[in-house]
């Protein structure tokens, strides 16, 4: 189990699955070991942010390894409900839907149906606050990022980038293929859970209007 330093104040450890990474990060945050500032699960890795003046590096590494070993079993899903994201597919809301369907060799209707048929899992949250990389996109829908990214992608845009699908929480530059729009609020600092998506969460898209 390799622990890779990310500078002198963080380390990353790769685990066998995103669910296991989520469990290890969660345990680190709950245990609140003095000197551990934060733990971030992203894809199948956990990055631990620490203060070397409070916690000896070797102790940190031992602790992480012990936890990772203790969680060698796939943890049970805490909450198997999916969060549903309503989407208006195509038209002005999805300017790249035709490109995606062409690349997939499917009709637009088939792409829309297939995008909704899958239950996705949040693998990582980053790039922007509330932006989730959703795993589980069917192979046929996987489409490379656009050669020329857009300078502005509207907030709420639902897109496909490589093997991931996701939603842009804010207007920003972006290179993903836009297939629809949602009014769901992905990030609200006044909400008790500011980010709608958390690592490990299951997600479904549902066509609306």
């Amino acid at each position: 189990m390799r622990i890779i330093p990310l500078g002198d104040s963080a380390v990353t450890i790769q685990l066998s699955s995103p669910d296991r990474a989520r469990a290890v990060a969660g345990a680190l945050k709950t245990q609140q070991l003095p000197g551990v500032i934060d733990a971030l699960a992203a894809f199948a890795g956990v990055t631990v942010y620490y203060d070397s003046a409070e916690l000896k590096y070797c102790h940190l590494c031992d602790w992480i390894k012990k936890l990772a070993h203790a969680m060698s079993e796939e943890p049970a899903l805490e909450d198997s409900r999916s969060v549903e994201i309503p989407v208006r597919y195509g038209g002005d809301a999805g300017p790249d839907l035709a490109d995606v369907s062409r690349a997939a060799g499917l009709s637009v209707a088939e792409v829309i149906a297939l995008h909704q048929a899958t239950e996705y899992v949040v693998l990582a949250v980053g790039f922007m606050p509330g932006f989730a990389y959703l795993g589980g996109l069917p192979d046929v829908l996987q489409t490379p990022r656009r050669r020329t990214p857009r300078t502005i992608v509207p907030a709420g845009s639902v897109g496909i980038g490589g093997m991931y699908t996701g939603v842009y929480p804010f207007a920003s530059p972006g290179g993903w293929n836009l297939i629809g729009q949602t009014d769901a609020v992905l990030f609200d600092p006044n909400r008790s859970s500011a980010a709608l998506f958390q690592v490990g969460q299951r997600v479904r898209f549902v066509a609306r209007g």
Binding site: L6, S9, Y49, S52, Q198
Partner: protein, 339 residues
Amino acid sequence: MSIDVLHPGAFTTIQDLGRPRGRSMGLPVGGAADSLALRVANWLVGNDENAAAIECRLIGPQLRFTHETMVAICGARARGFPHWQSLVGKAGELLDLSHLVDGVYAYLAVAGGIDVPAVLDSRSTDTRIALGGLHGRALQKGDHLSPSPSYSGERAGMRGERGAVAGAPEASKRFAPHPSPLPFEYKRERGPYRVHFESWYGGSPIRVIRGEQWDEFSRSLVDGTFDVSSKSDRMGVRLSGVPLLRTQPSELPSGPVTPGTIQVPPDGNPIVLLADAQTLGGYPKIAHVISVDLPRVSQIRAGATIQFTEVSLDEAHDLHRRRTKELAMLKYAIREKLQ
């Protein structure tokens, strides 16, 4: 009590030490680009180190204080003002921070801290998503700020003799050094913390730990020099020089990055990430600036040339521990003198 913004400066924002636990939401830590200067500025006015202060970038604001107040300016130097010192200004005084030298970021701490609502446990401003600070944006002409209501003019150090420096008619000279002697000898042009200053911001190569993709480039990061680009900002210091080209063509998956991480995009020009950097990145990570050298990196101006040198993880940890002790002693000494 109001702090009136007569001129906003180039990019002036309210910052504290940021949001250290928002990464799971994709929130950058943010906060002061030079956290060391912010912390000391706060201590010098009797604040907790995480109090909200005014971060000035390249061209600072012009402010008028309606009441007598205690301030400190740390980081880049504002021409006309002593820095790394407690200062007392009279009611109605103009504080002109428009000429900043010897750095990029200057921190103006005010006794009591700046009173803006805390959002997600911090008063720092993230302008990208309009979060926190003063309405999520940089200061504008006509804004009014105030210190926190708990501030009282009777705070430590406001007793006894105070007032303008004799002789000088310019408004800037009316912000007089705090009368009680501070723990280190005052040196002309340098402020009282000269001893620390040289080791904190001195001119030797910037120390890095190797990153995951350290071996994957045609040239080593430590060979040669880099120029700092004027396109640098709170997200990162952009460097240019002989491009660092990757020997491996494979695209990398996105992974966590942190302030201090040196990313190399396909054009070969490295970026040293700073406070507002995204939490995940897909570019190769060639190295990471060690934490004790991050304040210095944040303060390097466009047009300057820098060099890197590699150190071991143990050495970096050792330096961080020593810096932590040094700062704890400094904090204690300042507090003692302000009583």
